[in-house]
């Protein structure tokens, strides 16, 4: 699936719930299921700044695709990360770099998260794109 298709699938998945609390309940479930990042990456250098809760992000390059793992100390944040990973992970760097990740807006989540948290979201996407670019450039060499 392309990033666009994966994003659309998520929007549909959330459209089932009419109630905001149900959307959040779903997000919390996703957060709890998120595979945990390898402990060795939970250090200062993997922390993303700009988030109110702590978020660690790591990226690997596997078969020309970027594979992300991440963790956070807040479970709703983990839910959001898990959506981002589902969409962005295992895609090739140029696709990641050229995509815009508006699906969070399309679910309506970003308006319901406080502005500082929405900024955290922006930092997370930015950092994921930077990883993709860096890994791509390194592989080019």
């Amino acid at each position: 699936m392309t990033i666009k298709e994966k994003s659309e699938a998520i929007v549909e998945e959330f459209a089932i719930f009419d109630d905001w609390m149900d959307k959040y309940a779903h997000l919390i479930e996703l957060g709890k299921e998120l595979p945990i990042i390898d402990e060795k990456y939970k250090d200062e250098s993997h922390l993303i700044s700009g988030c109110q809760s702590r978020v660690w992000l790591h990226a690997d390059y596997v078969n020309d695709n970027v594979v992300y793992t991440a963790d956070s100390d807040a479970v709703i944040t983990k839910g959001i990360i898990s959506l981002l990973i589902r969409v962005m992970s295992d895609a090739n760097p140029s696709e990641i770099y050229s995509s815009d990740f508006t699906f969070i807006d399309d679910i309506g989540l970003s308006t319901h998260l406080s502005p500082t948290r929405a900024n955290g979201l922006v930092s997370m996407v930015k950092q994921m794109k930077l990883y993709a670019k860096a890994l791509y450039l390194r592989a080019e060499k």
Binding site: W20, M21, Y24, A25, I28, Q52, S53, R54, D73, A74, V75, I76, T77, H112, L113, S114, R117
Partner: protein
Amino acid sequence: MGFKINSIRNDFPVLSTKVNGKQLVYLDNGATTHKPMQVIDRISNYYMTENSNVHRASYNLSHIATDLFENSRKFIANFINAASYREIIFTKGTTESVNLVASGFSDIITEGDEIIITVMEHHSNFVPWQQLCKKNKATLRFLSVLKDGTIDLSELLAMINSKTKLISITHISNVLGTINPVKKISEIAHNNGVPVFVDGAQAIAHANVDVSEIDCDFYCFSGHKAYGPMGIGVLYGKEEWLNRLSPYQYGGEMISSVNFKSTTFNELPYKFEAGTPNVAGALGLERSLRYIQDIGLDNIFKYEDDLLQYATKKFENIKGVMIIGNAKSKIPVISLNIEGLHPYDIGILLDQMGIAIRTGNHCAQPLMEALELPGTLRVSMALYNTKEEIDLFADALMKAIDMLT
């Protein structure tokens, strides 16, 4: 006038707002309080009928504005029991008041001197002193916070010495709600020849503020935390101290005369009020303090303490919830730690349920570090809150905990 909660609530238009289709439950009064119609009307009346620059012109409207502005100053002097209106400086708020005094003390503090603050300070009463000490090669020392959220005066007695040049302490902690023994602290400080600065941001609306009784050398607060407007606050300073400090900013009414070579500064309080002041803010602040006075400070304290006791009992009985800060003497501010859960997760779900509380470090990161917490959930109440709202919060909290575990 007795305490009539329904008529009080009707004074505050914001309280009837809906959030996500639900009635707003506002429990973030430590951050800022709402404004009653009386204050809002006072400000619009000023702009509609009395607006003019102060201290400058000879026409009638300017005299009116100047008189109103100076009467507000006198009212505030009286409200906090200052010796004279000359000791009342209008500022933007608490933060600017601290910075003003820290800037003045940069001429007084020299290498090797010490300033004492506490671990529970808000960043606004922390960073200005930290920066001053850094610049002047002085040492900033910290009184620790005990398990119950209080400080230990014997630690202060041990810490104070001939190098101590200032003690700055919050009257009331914005995280723990603790009312600090500022009168005792002033006594200890003065016995050692040390001046005392008190941050009254959380006190002005919830405790008795009598600067003569406390005998502190400086006191400050913000209007917006006492049902008044944003952008106005007060610095109180004893005249002898204010006279010793250099101006903070230059220009406007703070000047007495200027020639090409030099400038002489105006006398107190104008020496510290550069530029056109926030006249509407000052009138609004006076109106908000009158509002408090009309209801009766003792009536308010009694009502708020009743809310505090009710909420404390209620929260103690929720599984996994721990109250951070159990001082005997507290205002209705309650910080909660929820076992195994991040405060942000809870804050987001509570927002969905129409409940406005604060999560995070509350601009007191050193305190969070000392308590070894990532942050807390803070419920801070005011005179318009009700037990029903505490119940709504408690139900919502239990629902959020349930969803997250």
